[in-house]
């Protein structure tokens, strides 16, 4: 996971491009997603979270670029002069719906009994993209719920492997308690060297992972259906304040 290097300020050069036919300008080094958001153009995202390194794994932010047959992830693609970006086409909408449906089919997402219902980015995106059923057969895997931590629970049934928890713990909290074990369809989030979360020697109990988690995979103990309100921490502010303190 390579963080995108910070934008070099000395080469702060303004580039012009079009997004959905609209002329926009942004600084060289910015990504298509940053340029779009700065101009109030919505591109759906799931693994991306402002303040964390972008890894482009969920593929929801795929966009079309004129002159290129393939699709490009907006969160890790830098803008170029004269670029013509399209963020909404029938092809992109179909792919995005497919991604959401595949995520639902892969594990056991039961919104009706989920702590995060009503505050879940997967549920919201299904609604926004018009996913009203799952066309793929669901897998119904048998997955564990790790409730060994004093305050928090990890429910693998709801995990979409966005790795926001891994990144926030490593990059912001500096503990790197979380990582991913196994590969492909068998991938799972794990604490330390695959310890029960409650036995983790590195976890500081800060709860950042819980609040950046887009679904009900990480939640606070003692909450019932729809009660887990995620408070997304203002990560860029947090990081900026820390840099000042270190001087």
């Amino acid at each position: 996971m390579t963080p995108i290097p910070p934008h070099p300020p000395e080469t702060a050069q303004t580039l012009n491009l079009t997004i959905n036919g609209r002329q926009v300008s942004a600084q060289a080094g910015e990504t298509i997603l940053e340029a779009a958001r700065a101009n109030d153009i919505f591109i759906p995202t799931l693994c991306f979270l402002e303040g964390l390194s972008a890894q482009g794994s969920c593929r929801l932010c795929m966009v079309e670029i004129a002159g290129s047959a393939k699709l490009h992830p907006a969160c890790v693609t830098r803008i170029q002069e004269g670029m013509e970006v399209t963020t909404e086409t029938e092809r992109l909408r179909d792919y995005r719906r497919n991604i959401i449906e595949l995520l639902f089919s892969e594990r056991n997402h039961v919104c009706a009994v989920c702590v995060a219902s009503g505050h879940c980015e997967l549920q919201d995106l299904a609604s926004e993209l018009g996913v009203d059923h799952i066309s793929f057969p669901c897998r119904y895997p048998t997955l564990a719920v790790d409730a060994s931590h004093r305050r928090f629970v990890l429910d693998h049934n709801r995990c979409i492997l966005c790795t926001r928890c891994v990144r926030v713990c490593a990059e912001i909290e500096g503990a790197h308690t979380w990582d991913v074990k196994n590969r492909g369809i068998r991938s799972l989030i794990m604490a330390d060297f695959d310890a029960p979360w409650g036995d983790s020697e590195t976890c500081t109990g800060c709860g950042k992972c819980v609040h950046v988690c887009p679904t009900g995979a990480l939640f606070e103990k003692g909450l019932a259906v729809a009660e887990m309100r995620k408070q997304r921490p203002a990560l860029p502010t947090l990081v900026a304040n820390r840099a000042t303190e270190q001087r």
Binding site: F104, C111, A126, H133, C138, Y140
Partner: protein, 177 residues
């Protein structure tokens, strides 16, 4: 104008979606002006008739009997609507799918019951290994997610259907709503 022949069916669900239909309260009279209720757990008709225009099906398919009913309803109905999350995704009944039908019966009826533990079998359809959404068995024309979809959602959806208007369902309901 001839009224639409309207039916509802209740498979493996909690009847919450039918309760939402009852929650229409005085708007049930408006619904009765729009459609003829020809079959439903809420009306006293025993046999699902031929030539139904619109059928709303609540619940997942959990047994061969459910599947048979659903296929019969599909044959006799113009527009089939999956009503609520159980019909749309499997939802709560499908939570047992990680264990399978037999294991869940054992867990509920044998392992937790100390007096005369037995799995009820007579006059009951055998449970399938998986509870599955309707569209795994028959083509479904519309999906109304929600657990349950609210009375307002149902009224808006059915009203739009009868009037031939488009309706923005995602704005009204979602999975788990």
């Amino acid at each position: 104008m001839k009224k639409l022949r309207f039916a509802t069916l209740w498979l493996d669900g909690c009847s919450g979606c039918h309760m939402s239909l009852l929650d229409l309260d005085q708007r049930l009279l408006d619904l009765a002006d729009m459609v003829d209720f020809v079959y439903s757990p809420l009306v006293d008709v025993k046999i699902f008739p031929e030539g139904v225009d619109v059928a709303c099906v609540e619940g997942a398919v959990s047994s061969a009997e459910d599947e048979e009913k659903l296929r019969m309803v599909r044959r006799r109905t113009g527009l089939l609507i999956a009503l609520g999350d159980c019909a749309v995704t499997g939802n709560i009944p499908a939570m047992r799918n990680v264990l399978g039908g037999q294991k869940i019966l054992q867990g509920v009826y044998l392992e937790r019951e100390h007096l005369n533990a037995q799995i009820p079998a007579s006059h009951l359809p055998a449970l399938n290994e998986h509870a599955l959404p309707l569209h795994r068995f028959v083509p479904v024309d519309f999906f109304i997610p929600g657990c349950p979809p609210s009375a307002d959602t149902l009224f808006a959806a059915l009203g739009a259907l009868v009037a031939g208007r488009a309706v923005d369902l995602p704005a009204l309901t979602r999975f788990g709503a």
